[in-house]
Amino acid sequence: MRDRLQTRYQVQAQLRRPIKERPAHEKSQRETTLLLPTLRTLKKLPNFYLSIVNMVGPIASLSQLNRADGSASYKCPATGYSILGAVNAPIELPARRDALKPEEATVEVFVKPGTTTAGVGERHVEGILRSVLGKIVLGREKGFPRRGVVLTLAIVGGENVERGDSANLSQYLTILPALLHAGLLAMVSASVPLSMTFSATLLGVTKSGDIVRDLSPTAAKAAVSLHVFAVSSKNHLLLNESEGRFDFDTWELVRERALSVCQGETAASADGDVTMGEGTASASLNGFIRETVEDQVYSDYAFKLDSI
């Protein structure tokens, strides 16, 4: 039985080997199992499977593109969005020489909508993504200062963000968690050193006061308030975007709920770092992100693991 990887540093160290160096037979296998690595997770974890059946969990996979340094796809069936993310890092940015910081990497984010040209709404979301991801990227690692970390996110599936009306933030709050997840996974796939991982969720408060998770764009329009939270693997609140009409007590209830969605019920213990048992915690979003990455590592190093 193969050992579980204890810490994320090891995951990173293993991933740091360029993906392109993998043996050819590995790669072809990986391509045929596009979007399928979760199936292996399912076999491993019956509980997780059940939770997927119940609430239609997200589907993610890593490194399916050839040219980009790292890539990930993320699909959230509840909201219907499907995002493809690609990261090139570290990369020279000759045109941005003035903006480069002398001691750090420059994180750039580009969001490309599926059926429109990018507008002011995309610029705003890019700003949010840049500030969240820029904070967790360890841009001072060797080889990164004065270079760029370029993240490109394409919205390839899902309900159109209404055409001619891209400046509709309520649409963008619904898509923000998917963008964050795709961005994070693409960063991991490109072996960009990160200080922590995170997961994000969209919660809405309906007219009757219920807290609903993963609203579809139409349901989001009817909600009284919408909240997006990103919670790190160590329980930090990395991002909050709330709009609508609400008071602080409501917000705290929503925040509690967001924490349990991201960390799972068991993760109330202080260090969110892998105390999760096999079944229970993987229902959480952080668990899901972790499973996706572990899965990729297992399949990438299958040749090594089998020989042990």
């Binding site: 050839n66 040219r67 090139n88 000759p94 580009f110 490309k112 059926t115 055409r163």
Partner: protein, 297 residues
């Protein structure tokens, strides 16, 4: 990085030398395309196309707009191609480059200017409202020949796409949702595709569907836009060294054969997908009806 990494001299020599012996790097014949794989997404007009390692997603969308003042009977059709760093690290986000401008121009001429999509059929109410169809091309992996790949994907997308049904009643346009009326297919007049050739060694060797490396080693290109009936709607010898006139004549015949083959392949995938949809649609319908019954009770 704003330029593709250059081919090394050794690589270039190897490619040229191999071509002199009629060998391509991936073992194809000069007139062979790479493996073509087309699949459709959940939405109508969502195409995922793989041509070797070149990977393209096309999405077709529609909306009701006002027609142009000078063409009140015509709908609008636009092809939008924006290259991002996803396709190749050499492309910078938010900046146009030569490939983008060239590919957009070629696609425009082959598909739009040849009127492959009948824009007059997009008119709803003269001078007041019409459909605006938009094709968005996302190049997510670039290994040469995006023009052909995008062209096939857009044409497949246009054939796959269904727009909502719209009716004019007393000066008011009524648009029916997908669940209310069967959405309508677009009116495709003909199916032109582009076939791109690259020339090597003073146009002695001509290959179709070059990979990125072959494109970099090539001395010139030749793009032929042609439909299944054999009507040439675009011909371009755009850049590089001069080519023999006979090459163009001969390769036009090759292109015609290729277009017939590819269109047949697209048709096959399309029919399979539509058949699958019809099945699911029937199941959905019965389920929706059940729901309604429950509601009535």
């Amino acid at each position: 990085m704003s330029k593709e990494a250059q081919l090394s001299i050794a690589e270039r020599d190897f490619i040229l030398e191999a071509l002199r012996e009629n060998v391509r790097l991936d073992g194809r014949q000069p007139d062979d395309y790479r493996a073509l794989n087309i699949s459709f997404g959940e939405e109508y007009g969502h195409v995922n196309l793989q041509l070797g390692k070149t990977n393209i997603i096309v999405r077709i969308s529609s909306e009701v707009t006002k027609p142009r003042e000078d063409r009140p009977f015509d709908g609008l059709f636009n092809i939008n191609l924006e290259l991002t760093a996803m396709g190749s690290p050499a492309w910078e986000n938010g900046r146009t480059n030569d490939i983008e401008a060239y590919a957009t121009n070629t696609l425009d001429r082959i598909i739009r200017h040849s009127n492959a999509l009948d824009t007059e059929s997009l008119c709803i109410l003269k001078g007041v409202s019409c459909w605006s169809i938009r094709a968005d091309v996302h190049v997510i992996d670039y290994d040469g020949n995006i023009t052909d790949a995008a062209c096939i994907a857009i044409m497949a997308g246009l054939q796959h796409f269904r727009r909502p049904d719209a009716v004019v009643r007393d000066g008011r346009v009524i648009v029916y949702g997908v669940e209310q009326r069967v959405p309508v297919a677009l009116n495709i007049t003909h199916k032109p595709l582009s076939v791109t050739f690259h020339t090597f060694n003073d146009s002695k060797h001509v290959v179709v569907d070059a990979t990125l490396k072959e494109e970099q080693a090539a001395e010139g290109d030749l793009v032929i836009g042609i439909n299944s009936a054999g009507d040439v709607c675009y011909l371009s010898k755009y850049a590089g060294a001069p080519a023999d006139a006979m090459v163009i004549v001969n390769k036009t015949n090759v292109a015609w054969e290729k277009v017939k083959q590819i269109n047949a392949a697209v048709e096959k995938v399309l029919q399979a997908d539509l058949a699958k949809r019809a099945k699911i649609g029937m199941a959905d319908e019965s389920r929706a009806e059940n729901d309604r019954l429950v509601q009535i009770e």
